[in-house]
Structure formats: C-alpha cells, structure tokens
Symmetry: C2
C-alpha cells in the first residue's frame, strides 16, 4: 500500500438509482431532482440518475423521464441511467441520457433469478440496446454482476468473466463495471481479476463496484486502486445493493470510500463535507438510518471538545503531583 | 497486497472485557464463564477475560475473581486481564492471571479525560503494577491508546508514540498494543507507525487494535499485517470500543477480521464457523444486535439456494428460445 501522491480517481454515485429503487416509500420527483442537483455540485464524475425499466417492475423509478428532464446538467458530470431493453433505450434516448448502463450477470443462475433470462438471452437483448445507443452515438457501459462470486453458484471462473468482457468489447462498448454484487470479493482476488481485465482490454474504461456485506468494501477498493482501476461506484450513506438484513450493508458508502482515498492521498475530486451533508439529507428523504460510517463519525480529524469538567480534572491531577511531592 | 501463503497470525479476543464492561445489563457470572469456555475452543492466542478495576468504576466486571477461578484454562491460550493499579495487581495475581494488560494514552488530553491522570502519573502508577507483575514473573502488555490520533488533540506525533514505547521497553514489558482508540487510523499511516515501531523495538511483541468507526477496520488490519504485525485484537460481533451512536461500530469484529485473513490465505488458527455461532450467542447474552458483518452474511462461499420457482423460470426462458427459433 502506497501513498496516492495526488493521483486522480473518478467516483460515480449510484444512490439515486440503486438506492431509490429499493425504497418502499416513493421519493417525490421534486425531491429526486433537488437531491441530484445537490450531488452535481460535489465533484462526481458520473451520476446514475434513474432506470428506464417498466413502471410495473420498479414503481419507485417510474418518473425517470421527468427527473432527467428537470435536473440541471452540470458540465463535466456524466448523467447515466440503467437501460434494460429496446423500449427502455427509446425512453433513454428521448431523455437525452449521456450514457447507457446495461446489466447482466456472469453467473447463469444469478442471471436467471435476477433477470429471468439465460445469459445468452440477456446478451442478445443488450446487443439490441447497444445498437440503438450506437446509432445515437451514446456510449455504453456494461455492469457485469457476480464477477467476484455468485451466492448460488459459488466461484465464477475468471475465464467466464473474461469471456463476457471480450464479447462486450467486440460489440464496441466503452466501459465495463466489475460488480461484487453480494459482497464476495476479497483483496487478492480483486487484484487478480482487475489486473487481468485491465491488461486484456486496454481500450475499455473499467469501473469497480463493491459491496460492504462482509466488511471488505474499503479494502477491496484499495486493492482495485492498486491494480490500476481509477473509476469506482459508490452509494451515499451505503444505501441500496440488497443488504441481507436490517443493519447489514450492501453498497459501499461513497463518503467512506472518498474519506479513505483522501487520507491515503488520492484526489477523488469530491467534497467530503458536502457528501456528509448530502448523506444526512438522504436519510431524511428515505426516512430511515443508513449504514455509512463517516457520515456518522465525521472525518478522522474531526475535533471533539474535552468534557466540560476538563479543567477540574486537570486541577485535581496537578494537586496530586503537589501532594506526592511533599515529604 | 499479497497472498498470506499460510503465514501464522495470532488473534486475541477482547469482547469479554472491552465489550461486557459497557453493557448496561449485568452478564451473570455463569454466563461469562460458559462463554469464555466456548471461546477457549476456537483457536484464540489470547482472551482478555476481565478487568481488575474497582467494582464501583466498572460494576459490569466486578466478578473478575470468580470468573478467573471458574473458567477452564486451555493450554496454549493466554488468559489476560486489564490491571489498572497496585490494588488491581494484587487481585490479578491472586487470580493467577497469565498476563497483565495495562493501559495508558499517548495523548495527554485523552489520558486525563479517560484516566483522570496526566500521562506521567499514569506511567508512575503502571510502573508499580509492572514491578508487582515482574516480582511474580507475570508478563506485561501495555495497551497504548490514541496511537493513530486523538479525537480531542488531533494527530499524535510519531515521536511521542515512540517515546512511550521506549519508556515501557526500558521498564521490561513484553508487549505493546498499538490502539486506534476512536478509529482514526488509515492504511499508509498504519504502515508507517507499525513498521517504525517493529524496527525500533525488535524484542517486543507488538499487537494492533483497530476500530471500524470509519469503515477502515479491515484495510488497516491488512496494512498492519503487511508491515509485519502478527498479533491482533478483535471483538466478537464488533461489541464494545465506544461506538459513537447506535448502529455505529467500535471494535473491529473478530469474525470479520478472521474471514478476511482466511480469504487472503493467512492462518489465524481460528474456527470461523465457531466464531459465527459464538457471535450469535453473544447477541443473545447482551440482548441486542451487534454490528459485525460476517456473522450476519456468512462466509463468502456460503451457498444460497435459488428461489423455489427456479425451475419454472428456467422452463420459461428455454421456451422463449424455442419460440424465437421458429420461422
């Protein structure tokens, strides 16, 4: 582990898609727009705004078009959205989405359970989406699930992961996100997979997406940084990403990631105090506590005042010295 | 970050002292004894059984003698306890404690607030304790607080930390625990401090004690391992260690540490399934949820069954292929 020496890293925020989609309470469109506008000022490289899935499948994000239309787009921030199929692609293009994020799993069982299709069926469907994006000159990122393991199949062989990366590279996508969908990644595995992928497809922009399910979200992030990955997904407050149980964590928290990387000397471009304040607002929006640590504890050099009776403690300690010094 | 290649690391459990001391409900002596006996079978190098502090100061641990008398001591496990002063040392020696753990802070303000003494006063008091231990040939470990920062003073200069290490080394103690008392440590700092300390006092046994307050408990652990530290404190379930708020975490969880180290290929000697089961019992004992992750999520290759309708999902997916293949 070495100092970051100011190396630039790029953070993406997924809370407004990956987080909001799981909330039982519908977040009003006005609140979504205001929250995304707030995020736009914090230094993110990319914000995943919404999902163009059917309103029936994900009612929480049925206002995707309205949100995209009303947010203030800040130059330098890429506004992306999840696009599952050709119908979603049309909606996304009408909304002038700046990147398509498409998703499939490297695990056949997980893909069937999560998307109700075989991986080959997903690939064909996403291929249509990619064609639509390409005809509109919109870049495509592919989020590959279960790259570091599948909760039902166990290990996903590296050759299988690389095979899907190669097929999407051949289809001309711009980026691949290596997703640790249920928090099975560990540092040396992260290094092997990330380094191999980076070397194999040098023209692709790779992103890492970690979960903190087994408390390794930050150590895996650092492992990926040290392998050469420069793009990371995070979710403010650690919202979303299928936590197993109340109190358990899913997505790694953006503020925890940004805080660690700043401590080590990396430049994420993010405003940490702004992230902490935004995470507090997010807890208000969703009306429940979120598992992130830094938004609770503050950054490491947050100064706490000694207790009010500190001067009395000090006086008594010094009196004791005087008493002991007497013969 | 490199594979552990089976390198042996040594884990100490602090839940029965650092955890129990903060519980509002008194854990019955029988339950403490049964729980410690259970821990003794799990592969720990050391268990911090209790504290010989006054019953008035820490009523939760007023049964230290009874617990020490009644536990079954397993050969190979060191049974240690916190010893604050000469009176505590007498009680500890009567209880045939196998190691004294003494505590002071490297931060003057923190020492005053926490122990009501200046650091010099603490050193004199601990010096008496060390003399008593040495006359009984009992080894002494010194837990130094705020080595990675003080919540009231900010950074604690490395020379100050090294100064206290040197003074205790001169007093002939066997070990020093470098404590991240409020979770201010970060990986590159951990490496600098640990590597410097190890090089400077090569005859001492160093232990690292991390908190997960800012989500860096595991990445700091790995940083310390890679600096050459081989001994670590952990607390089952992540109990204890002054969490800031409900849901926030203090001590790093033993099962989370053991799981990560096993994934990377280190040999901690610990039985991970046994730790997870013991953490569940600990939640029963203290009657509230604990923040550890691995005892909730299981180890990374825990296999989950696909949902009950999986064969129906699969049939429908295959039917779709057949339909699409028709002219």
């Amino acid at each position: 582990m070495q100092s970051g020496h100011g190396k630039r890293l790029y953070l993406n925020e997924v809370s407004t898609r990956d987080g909001f989609q799981m909330e039982s309470r519908f977040i009003p469109t006005d609140d979504k727009v205001a929250f995304i506008n707030r995020l736009s000022d914090l230094g993110y490289a990319k914000i995943e705004v919404t999902s163009f899935t059917s309103a029936k499948a994900i009612p929480a994000l049925q206002d995707g078009e309205a949100v995209m239309q009303r947010i203030a787009r800040r130059p330098g921030v890429v506004y992306t959205a999840l696009v599952p199929n050709a119908r979603g692609a049309e909606r996304a293009l009408e909304s002038r989405i700046e990147e398509f994020n498409v998703v499939m799993s490297t695990s056949e069982t997980h893909n069937l359970v999560n998307l109700r299709m075989t991986r080959e069926q997903s690939f064909r469907q996403l291929s249509e989406v990619i064609t639509l994006a390409q005809s509109a000159k919109v870049p495509v990122n592919v989020s590959l699930s279960c790259v570091f393991g599948c909760p039902m199949e166990g290990e996903v062989p590296l050759e299988v992961v690389l095979g899907w990366i190669d097929r999407f590279a051949q289809r001309g996508v711009q980026g691949i996100t290596l997703c640790d969908t249920t928090g099975m990644a560990y540092p040396t595995q992260v290094q092997e997979i990330c380094a191999t992928a980076l070397l194999r497809q040098q023209a692709l922009d790779f992103t890492a997406h970690f979960h903190n399910t087994r408390a390794m979200g930050l150590v895996n992030t650092l492992a990926a940084v040290e392998s050469g990955i420069v793009r990371f997904d995070g979710s403010l407050g650690g919202i979303g990403g299928c936590p197993y149980a109340p109190g358990a964590t899913g997505n790694v928290a953006t503020e925890d990631v940004a805080h660690m990387l700043a401590c080590i000397g990396y430049d994420t471009g993010l405003n940490l105090d702004g992230l902490i304040a935004a995470a507090a607002e997010l807890e208000q929006l969703v009306e429940h506590a979120l598992p992130a640590q830094v938004s609770r504890a503050g950054h490491r050099l947050t100064r706490h005042a000694p207790p009010p009776d500190f001067s009395a403690i000090l006086s008594r300690a010094h009196e004791r010295d005087i008493l002991e010094a007497q013969p």
